[in-house]
């Protein structure tokens, strides 16, 4: 299919959804959708000519057709969904099947007063004023084709609101399970996270594919961190073997706000993670922490962009990739220090371990610095398992495969150690041990 045909297809799908969409929806949302599709019509799918997509072809997405799924027809096992997505049975969670809220798998009891964890569709039906103010405030649909598509097709997703000075100690999980059926489905989950001043929260987005069919999940999260808020955000991807995933995090941090954002990609055919953080207040800080494991013919692209917009903000970024089979990893780390952002401190590291001769990685730092009093550093490495370390372990009686698995596990360990939710870290540890043991 030609790119133009593919674009037409989305435009047609939008026209159809416009006519079938239930009447009586809020007009502001309809306007937002119209703006989204207009942006997409103008932008089209990105090509290699676009610097931000130089190493990633979106052809697997643009050359196929997908339909919206209306929930899951087949019966699904709650325990399977939870264990696959690394979620505790007692946890607070919203579960979505093909992008549609599934209350039967969700659990929102025991939240502190004032905290809201809700389905977006439900809030739209309640016509909450809050949404019209915040939804779409930070997503850049005018510039990003996938943000535009998500905006055009926005229906459901999650809204999390934590009021001022509220400390949400238990993590909130958002689970997005895709189930490919006879027809290739797509979903465009939209997440809005609003944290009040001096509040605290841990939020985990967990994406899983429940079968090996082809589907397209295009998720977009807008996160707004109030002054001095403390946030841990996790994005965990375990898409199916033929799953196509574009995930975007748009974060805006006010004065003194601290965000730690993790992106862990364990599977999926094509995965693109966009992380855009604006340090929008003095002393705001972000830590970006990434781990991507490639195998078979997977393509995993991490595109991160940190904007130091105000003085004395800091960013610390560590992304690590382990690529085997014929997989392809991409890391692009852009740091922009604006003119007024004096005393900025930005450090970026990307390390890659290639486990096979056919695996490849492209790593690219991009610094744009317009202030003069800043500290900025970046470094990237691409290497193989250390021969001396392999020999050392083998002289202790460990077989070659076991020695390799121990060293691969070790390579990922500092990124894993930064995960502060104990049960999540433990599950990831167990997963990694099992994965690297595989012959």
């Amino acid at each position: 299919m030609l790119a133009t045909e593919s674009k037409e297809q989305y435009l047609a799908a939008f026209n159809q959804s416009r006519s079938t969409r239930s009447a009586g929806g809020p007009s502001w949302l309809e306007e937002l959708r119209e703006a989204g599709i207009a942006s997409f019509e103008a932008l089209g799918f990105p090509s290699h000519k676009n610097e931000a997509w130089k190493f990633t072809s979106v052809e697997p997405i643009s050359s196929q057709s997908f339909v919206h799924a209306n929930g899951a027809a087949q019966s699904l096992d709650a325990n399977e969904i939870l264990s696959r997505s690394f979620v505790d049975a007692e946890s607070c969670r919203l579960v979505f099947i093909n992008g549609v809220y599934a209350p039967e798998f969700s659990r929102t009891q025991d939240l502190p007063a004032g905290v809201r964890v809700q389905s977006l569709a439900k809030m739209v039906r309640q016509n909450d004023d809050f949404l019209s103010v915040h939804l779409g405030r930070y997503a850049r649909h005018q510039h990003e084709a996938f943000a535009a598509l998500n905006t055009a097709f926005v229906e459901d997703g999650a809204v999390i609101i934590v009021p001022e000075r509220c400390r949400l100690t238990q993590p909130v999980y958002l689970v997005f399970a895709s189930v490919a059926g006879e027809r290739q489905v797509m979903s465009h989950p939209r997440i809005l996270i609003l944290l009040g001043a001096a509040s605290e929260a841990k939020i985990v987005e967990s994406y899983i594919g429940l079968n090996s069919g082809t589907y397209f999940c295009n998720a977009l999260t807008e996160l707004i961190g109030g002054p001095d808020a403390l946030i841990e955000h996790y994005r965990l991807q375990q898409e199916g073997d033929a799953g196509l995933h574009v995930g975007t995090l748009e974060a805006d941090l006010e004065r003194g706000c601290q965000l730690t954002a993790h992106a862990v990609t364990l599977s999926g055919s094509l995965v693109r993670n966009n992380v855009h953080v604006v340090l929008d207040g003095e002393g705001a800080a972000c830590v970006l922490n990434g781990l991507y494991l490639g195998d078979k013919r997977q393509h995993i692209d991490n595109y991160t962009e940190i904007e130091h917009a105000k003085p004395r903000a800091s960013s610390l970024e560590l992304y690590k990739g382990i690529l085997g089979g014929s997989s392809h990893g991409v890391f692009n780390g852009k740091i922009i220090v604006h003119k007024d952002a004096q005393k900025s401190d930005a450090r970026q590291t990307n390390k890659n371990l290639l486990l096979s001769a056919n695996a490849a990685v492209n790593t690219k730092p991009q610094l744009e610095i317009y202030a003069d009093d800043v500290k900025c550093s970046h470094g990237s490495t691409i290497g193989q398992l250390d021969a001396d370390a392999l020999f050392y372990l083998r002289t202790r009686g460990l077989g070659l495969e076991e020695a390799r698995s121990i060293l691969s596990f070790a390579f990922a360990s500092d990124v894993v150690a930064r995960i502060k939710i104990d049960s999540l870290r433990q599950r990831l540890d167990d997963y990694l041990v099992a994965r690297f043991r595989k012959p």
Partner: protein, 252 residues
């Protein structure tokens, strides 16, 4: 236990070992001395199975088996242990974690039951005492940020846990102060047993005051040029290696 016959080996196309002959019996402690570049460490690594060291001729028979056809891990499971001169640092793997996996691989090969976590910790507690090693260290990433002495203690600890039949100590004394040397040597001495052989490779006579060998061999230019009992070490100490170099040159 170990018979090395006319062993020749190359490292990056340069011949380092040029016909080593050595017999080591059970219960014996042998010291291999020699100047820098004489081939001491190469010999240790060839015996442990280092892959980029190419054996060009000769044979090594260990407990009746052809050692040179075995992988490094097969040699380890058969009871060979090499204490490294430069132990590698592995961030992200603790001594406890990898040593438990290693011990169980070795035990499985020897037909013994694998140890569970509790049994292993009890064993570690006992063996860390032997080398006077802080328990905290064994749960830290392997050798990362360890002092020279701590790294060498860790090597002897691993040796004690893996219970080898033939232990090769490659310049275990290098970079140690007297206290650390005493502890490391004490650990090695505690492992002397009539069914176990130990080969101590060292540049200096000093270590041999603590680990007293049954035999001493001097390696020079890839060959054993002199063998004797512990008194040979004292001769070397007073005369230096030059004495042997000129003697060897005269023979050749």
């Amino acid at each position: 236990m170990l018979d090395i016959k006319n062993l020749h080996a190359k490292v990056s196309n340069q011949e380092i070992l040029r016909g080593i002959n050595l017999h080591v019996g059970a219960g014996e402690v042998h010291a291999i001395m020699g100047p820098n570049g004489s081939g001491k460490s190469t010999l240790a690594h060839v015996l442990a199975g280092r892959e980029n060291y190419e054996v060009t001729s000769g044979e090594v028979i260990y407990q009746g088996k052809d050692l040179l056809t075995m992988s490094p891990e097969a040699r380890a499971r058969e009871g060979i242990f090499l204490a490294f001169q430069y132990p590698v640092e592995i961030p992200g793997v603790s001594t406890t974690y990898f040593l438990k996996a290693a011990l169980n691989a070795v035990r499985k090969h020897r037909g013994l039951e694998e140890l569970d976590a509790m049994e292993f910790l009890a064993l570690m507690k006992e063996k860390t005492k032997l080398v006077e090693m802080d328990q905290v260290l064994i749960n830290r990433p392997l050798n990362e940020g360890f002092s020279g002495g701590e790294k060498k203690r860790n090597e002897v600890l691993q040796m004690a846990v893996l219970d080898p039949t033939l232990a090769l100590l490659d310049e275990t004394d290098s970079g140690l102060d007297i206290d650390a040397l005493r502890v490391v040597a004490g650990g090695v001495n505690a492992l002397r047993r009539k069914d176990r052989a130990i080969i101590v490779i060292t540049h200096y006579q000093r270590l041999l005051e603590y680990i007293v060998p049954d035999f001493i061999h001097v390696l020079y230019n890839g060959r054993v040029v002199k063998s004797g009992t512990k008194e040979l070490a004292l001769q070397l100490e007073s005369k230096g290696y030059d004495w042997l170099k000129s003697e060897t040159a005269a023979v050749q």
